[in-house]
């Protein structure tokens, strides 16, 4: 798996989404359901929750559009590009766009949800038989009102369950008419229309008036596509007209003639040569659920994977029984962590073991990341910051993050303090490394521990060294701060138990700094969320925020 550069992700777990508009290809409830299921794919394996908003700005704004649809990345007509989404962030970031020149289905041909009838909104069953004839699409046979219908079981004659198929004669979507059906003919700009039209719009969507005069009432809605309707071309939503004439020859079915890409098309009037009205024939279509699940992966921070079986592989492939690939799960859990599980009872252990009982040969568990949702950038201040093993370490509440002292250092973590240094308590007030002996000194409250490799000494009391608190420790520290063997000298004092306490205050740095460390040739004094940077001439040359300057949040 891959994440976007900088591991872009949402800084909150309760992610919101809003469906801005709908495709005419599927009934809105099917679209809602496809998106909800696509989000569930990700919420099942992470602590993320997804809440739908019906107005205002959501984190993930979902829309359908064609070709140039308002961002710098136009779609390309039928097939090719299906959709795209932006990584997490403000504004356009996080949004998902679906190409409405595609035929959106559940992946196996038109998904026709019925209305009314006696099937409680069930999906059409294709093929079905009616009076001895087999139907693979909705039909108006048997009706005088021209409303298309279908059976919702294989045999209408036997089961008698049916419903009405999407049709502009039944309802519209979007617009301002609350889903009312089209009224034909209607007047628009003094011209009369007998069917849905794209006139007056630049986005190619078909609409109709829901009263007989749009100019007067300004009431309209978008026309749902019939299951027999063509997609793309210049007659979206119209049914094929058979037979039709193309280059002087009559065709009784869809053809790929005249095209280099092998796609089946038909004319929507009886003569293409004269009318030039055409569209692509209905096909299996693309599963909105699968494509949405992929795009939402982007919207959550996943980039394309090169694992062919992964959802985040860039190519579309229909799978009947979908489940996330291990690669997808690892990717999303790298960003957000796994599904939280309730705490399990554990055998009580001594949190801070007696140093005499500590076996220096005990190998701690290898350092591994824990709960990446603990974002260092969301913390206002740290318990302690120090440089050890050539890396900046940031400690907070049992966790620590580390960053290479090199200029391109990347923040890693959080890691568990108890896994790496089992003897330590969760809160570390201060820590430093003696570069000569590589001993690590950790301070918490009035106790300190000394780690040499994996062996530990402590806790010992700093009061026994004549140091009343951690601030006194630092005053001791800064007294020798520009000595060549500053750290070594300090370590010696601690080891010998005879501190030389001299209350020296440097100009410009707080005397209650809780961390002092050397980093990239400067001495840093930290207090609260701020740092004071001192150069080798004992001048404070910069005061700034730990979060922005050191962590680079």
């Amino acid at each position: 798996y891959q994440t976007f550069e900088g591991d872009l992700k949402w800084d909150h777990r309760d992610v919101t989404y809003r469906i801005i508009n709908y495709s005419p290809d599927m009934e809105s409830s099917l679209i809602d359901d496809s998106f909800a299921r696509a989000f569930k794919v990700w919420s099942d394996v992470t602590p993320l929750t997804f809440t739908r908003l019906f107005d205002g700005t959501a984190d993930i704004m979902i829309s359908f559009g064609k070709a140039n649809h308002g961002d710098p990345y136009p779609f390309d007509g039928k097939d090719g590009l299906l959709a795209h989404a932006y990584p997490p962030g403000e504004g356009l970031q996080g949004d998902a766009h679906f190409d409405d020149d595609e035929h959106w289905t559940l992946g196996k041909g038109p998904a026709v949800k019925t209305r009314y009838g006696n099937a409680d909104g069930a999906i059409c069953h294709f093929p079905f038989t009616f009076e001895g004839k087999t139907y693979t699409t909705c039909t108006t046979d048997g009706r005088t009102d021209n409303l298309p219908w279908c059976a919702t079981t294989a045999d209408y004659s036997k089961d008698k369950t049916f419903g009405f198929c999407p049709s502009e004669l039944l309802y519209t979507f979007g617009g301002n008419a609350d889903g009312a059906e089209c009224v034909f003919p209607f007047v628009f700009l003094d011209k009369e229309y007998d069917s849905c039209t794209t006139e007056g719009r630049s986005d190619g969507y078909r609409w109709c008036a829901t009263t007989d005069n749009f100019d007067r009432d300004i009431k309209y809605g978008f026309c749902p596509s019939r299951d027999t309707a063509v997609t793309g071309g210049n007659s979206e939503g119209e049914p094929c007209q058979f037979p039709f004439v193309f280059l002087g020859k009559a065709y009784d079915s869809c053809t790929s003639e005249g095209r280099g890409d092998g796609k089946l098309w038909c004319s929507t009037t009886d003569n293409y040569d004269e009318d030039k009205k055409w569209g692509f024939c209905p096909d299996q279509g693309y599963s909105l659920f699968l494509v949405a699940a992929h795009e939402f992966g982007h919207a959550l921070g996943l980039d394309h994977s090169n694992i062919r079986e992964a959802l985040m592989y860039p190519m579309y492939a229909y799978v009947e029984d979908f489940s996330l690939n291990k690669d997808d799960i690892e990717g999303i859990q790298y960003l957000y962590g796994p599904v939280p599980t309730p705490p399990q009872p554990t055998t009580p252990t001594t949190p801070y073991p007696d140093p005499d009982e500590t076996d220096p040969t005990d190998e701690p568990e290898p350092t591994k990341p824990v709960d990446p949702t603990k974002d260092a950038c969301k913390l206002d201040k740290f318990d302690s910051i120090t440089v050890t093993e050539g890396e900046l370490h940031f400690f907070k509440d049992g966790l620590y993050w580390k960053m290479s002292s090199r200029s391109d250092g990347v923040l890693k973590g959080p890691f568990s303090i108890s896994k790496r240094w089992p003897a330590l308590p969760p809160v570390i007030d201060s820590a430093f490394e003696d570069p000569l002996t590589k001993k690590l000194y950790f301070f918490s409250g009035n106790r300190f521990w000394v780690y040499t490799g994996q062996s530990v000494l402590g806790p010992r009391s700093i009061e026994k060294l004549g140091l009343p608190n951690i601030y006194a420790l630092w005053r001791l520290l800064v007294s020798d701060i520009f000595n060549d063997n500053f750290w070594y000298g300090f370590a010696q004092k601690i080891d010998n138990g005879y501190p030389r306490y001299t209350d020296i205050v440097f100009g410009g740095v707080p005397n209650d700094a809780h961390d002092v460390f050397q980093h990239k040739g400067h001495i840093y004094f930290c207090r609260d969320r701020f740092y004071w940077r001192m150069n080798s001439r004992r001048q404070v040359d910069r005061v700034g925020y730990v979060k922005y300057d050191l962590l680079k949040c």
Binding site: F4, E5, A67, Y73, F75, D76, G77, K78, D79, G80, L81, L82, A83, H84, A85, D99, D101, E102, G232, G233, N234, L247, E257, G258, R259, G260, D261, W265, K276, W278, Y286, V291, H294, E295, H298, D303, H304, N306, R308, P314, M315, Y316
Partner: protein, 89 residues
């Protein structure tokens, strides 16, 4: 009756997909998905050779890395896919 059909290509009105050669298709694909002409943070635009770009694309798609516009590569380029570039820019 055994004469091969003589197909005539037609430009369909409103058709966004234009008839293009395989080479044009490949160039468009490699550019669109970030394999060619990568812009670096500095603003410097590095010109990657088509062969290198093809290899990179073939690696990403799990195809044999030939660096040539072979049949399987061309087929992969024609398959429906997500519009997000494979190579971040």
């Amino acid at each position: 009756w055994s004469l091969p059909l003589k197909s005539v290509m037609v430009t369909f009105p409103g058709d966004i997909i234009k008839n293009m050669t395989d080479t044009d298709l490949a160039q468009t694909y490699l550019k669109r998905f970030g394999y060619l002409d990568r812009v670096h943070r500095s603003g410097f635009q590095s010109m990657v050779s088509t062969s290198k770009a093809l290899k990179r694309m073939q690696r990403q798609m799990g195809l044999e890395e030939t660096g040539d516009l072979d049949k399987s590569t061309l087929e992969a380029m024609k398959r429906p896919r997500c519009g997000v570039p494979d190579v971040a820019n």
